[in-house]
């Protein structure tokens, strides 16, 4: 029986995976992908079936754990944001080489316009790079249906499947019709085990098969129900619209599009469909969210002087998320009449919450550095505390990628920078900070590391943090001298104590760790409400 539910794109995908017989989801939180795992964690079917749904330490461990579940014959899902795939890339690219046994779907949520990210990278490049099939839903219903198709394709071709979402699809709600759940797979080992041992001799054999399979996957994409070619009488233009971009095209033609439209939601790029459109149209417009992946590929496919328009030629903006309005302009239509923008409206950037422990940490840190060590540099990391760059703190000098605070502080100290201070959150520390700390300890680098511990993964909404309660042991285990692992509670009344610690540890010529520890006030509120 079919049922209708109002679901976020993330939730539709999660439910689709559960209904496809999922046995485990593996993920590290990251906007806009977090809600996929959270939905599965809370779903009664996942609870009843005992589906694995605990957060992993980072995207690489998540990817490898899911690959292990696939090896054992069951269906596994890995979820991350686009930059998470950089962390998981070693495992991801090599998972294409081993192939999958149980269905393996890797969901990556891209963030064009960088609503909550440090870059705009397009994960479809990774799909092509690793030679894996890639899906890109255009609606929440497709997100639900596609994940089932992705698991089936994964098992039929014995290969991981990449599913790419963008922020707007992940975080927009629509009505989705859902069907009955399928049973989970039984435990079963791969029939062929040689390709799971990626020694050069095995890999060379497997790589040729992977290339042959990629050609067959293009034939699959050409026949996919998710890729559609719709005829139109006006052949002056043919439109290639990928994933969610298809909606923005159709939004501008309420009575139907007069031009032929090729909707693309499954890759490898079905080149024959592109050639067909080129043979009957006088120009092409490529509308895609993210980077010009298809536009560049189409230029390589087609000979001759056919004009191809898109992000590379300026009809569409080269950066940022598409909108119905930017697509409208590219279709040659005049803009809608609008109200004038108000001239008194000013930007309202986000800020650390009032009462947040990171605030007390930054107040103490900036007072010490500014007044006593004006040459000091603060290398920060990814999390709520990145907001320390903004007013009133202006406390940090860098924020690059997960874990880069400790390693960049070490590199700068190697060059002679002093004081060289790292600021990292507890969850980011266990994600990617621990190995860098080992480098620092091994070389006795002269750095001061502040692990601002709020006992949660705060920025993404308060998920469990992998090292909660064990940070001092972890640091001591890595080799930091226990005399230079200092813990305090970041509160206004303890400011002088924290400042004294910072001074003393800057003066100590070696690796020291200061842990200001106080629960995130958002999770504290939730816990207090739950207690009542």
């Amino acid at each position: 029986m079919e049922k209708r539910e109002l679901l976020l794109g993330d939730e539709a995908l999660a439910l689709g995976a559960l209904h496809a017989g999922l046995s485990g989801v593996y993920a590290y939180p990251g906007t806009p992908s977090t809600e996929i795992t959270e939905y599965i964690q809370d779903h009664p079917l996942a609870v009843a079936r005992g589906v694995h749904r605990t957060w992993s330490s980072n995207e690489k461990t998540a990817m490898e754990e899911a690959l292990g579940m696939s090896f054992a014959g069951k269906r596994a899902l890995v979820c991350m944001k686009h930059v998470g795939l950089n962390v998981a890339a070693d495992a991801f690219v090599n998972a294409a080489m081993t192939g999958a046994n149980g269905g393996l779907v890797v969901v990556v949520a891209d963030d064009p316009s960088m609503h909550s990210s440090q870059n705009e990278q397009d994960s479809r490049f990774y799909g092509k790079f690793a030679l894996v099939p890639t899906f890109e839903p255009s609606t929440q219903q497709e997100a639900y249906d596609m994940v089932k198709a992705a698991f089936e394709l994964s098992e039929r071709f014995r290969i991981p499947v990449l599913m790419r979402l963008t922020t707007r699809m992940a975080h927009s709600r629509a009505v989705v019709e859902v069907t009955e759940p399928r049973a989970e797979n039984e435990l079963h080992s791969p029939a062929e085990t040689r390709q799971w041992v990626l020694m050069p001799g095995n890999s060379r054999v497997r790589y040729k098969i992977l290339l042959d399979d990629y050609a067959r996957l293009e034939t699959e994409a050409a026949a996919s129900p998710f890729n559609t070619y719709t005829e139109g009488p006006d052949k002056r233009l043919g439109i290639i619209a990928c994933g969610i971009a298809h909606n923005y095209v159709m939004e501008n033609y309420p009575d139907g599009c007069p031009h032929p439209v090729l909707k693309l939601s499954q890759y490898p790029l079905p080149r024959d469909l592109v050639r067909r459109m080129a043979s009957e149209c006088q120009a092409l417009l490529v509308v895609e969210e993210g980077q010009p992946v298809v536009e560049e590929a189409v230029r390589g496919v087609l000979p001759g002087p056919l004009p191809i328009r898109g992000r590379l030629t300026g009809e569409l903006p080269r950066t940022g998320e598409l909108t119905p309005d930017s697509v409208r302009a590219a279709l040659g239509m005049s803009p809608h009449r609008t109200h004038a923008a108000s001239e008194i409206v000013v930007p309202r950037p986000p800020a650390l919450c009032q009462g947040c422990g990171h605030r007390d940490m930054y107040t103490a840190l900036t007072e010490v550095v500014r007044e006593e060590y004006p040459a000091g540099k603060v290398f920060s990391d990814i999390g709520c505390y990145t907001l320390g760059w903004l007013a009133p703190f202006h406390a940090i000098d860098t924020c690059v990628d997960m874990g880069a605070s400790i390693t960049m502080a070490k590199g700068a100290a190697d060059a002679g920078q002093h004081p060289s201070i790292a600021v990292i959150g507890d969850s980011t520390f266990t994600h990617s900070g621990m190995t860098g700390l080992l480098d620092a300890v091994n070389e006795r680098a002269n750095i001061t590391v502040i692990i601002s511990d709020n006992l949660t993964t705060g920025m993404t909404g308060g998920q469990d943090s992998a090292g909660t309660g064990r940070l001092e042991q972890i640091c001591a285990g890595i080799g930091v001298d226990p005399a230079h692992i200092r813990v305090t509670v970041p509160l206004p009344r303890n400011r002088e104590e924290l400042k004294a610690m910072i001074r003393e540890e800057i003066a100590y010529p070696g690796v020291s760790v200061i842990i200001p520890r106080r629960e995130c006030i958002q999770t504290a509120k939730k816990h207090n409400t739950a207690k009542k």
């Binding site: 975080h171 923005y248 809608h336 008194i344 986000p350 800020a351 709520c384 007013a391 909404g461």
Partner: protein
Amino acid sequence: MKRDIILSGVGGQGILSIATVIGRAALAEGLQLKQAEVHGMSQRGGDVQSNLRISSSAIHADLIPRGEADLIVSLEPMEALRYLPWLASDGWVITNTVPLVNIPDYPDADALQRELEALPHAVTLDIDALAKAAASPRSANMVLLGAAAPFLDIDAAKLEAGIRDIFARKGEQVVEMNLAAFRAGYEATQKQAKR
């Protein structure tokens, strides 16, 4: 039937609960719906908005084109003005008049007042005071929903059912408080429209 609505406010004010209630009611009426939300970094006290599209026929884009919104519904006055380029020429603004000042360069109160008064179609209410009088300051978002309800073309009883749904697990007292807030907003709009 078609309603394109921009819900706006400041992170933490609770615009998503408004969207959730309207969503439930629209689903109960058998309407199509798309609702784009903001999650992540900007929820920390920054500007937030949600594009809510309801229609009896198919909806394509998750985002509302500029100049096409029927309504701007805002819990904060400057945040209402931020989205004017999306408002249709005959569209309405329903907004709280109480500023939330968490930035140093917030516009001057008189200038803000003048811009609100210059809007051709607007309902401007002290939502905070209405919430305090009728229920609790925490139910300001349901007062605003009530104030917007006459413009939604959705049966008010279905909206009230939506409120019952989403607050049910918090107990009958919370449900009644939010219903009272909703009705106070609804009446306030009717009164202002009559003037």
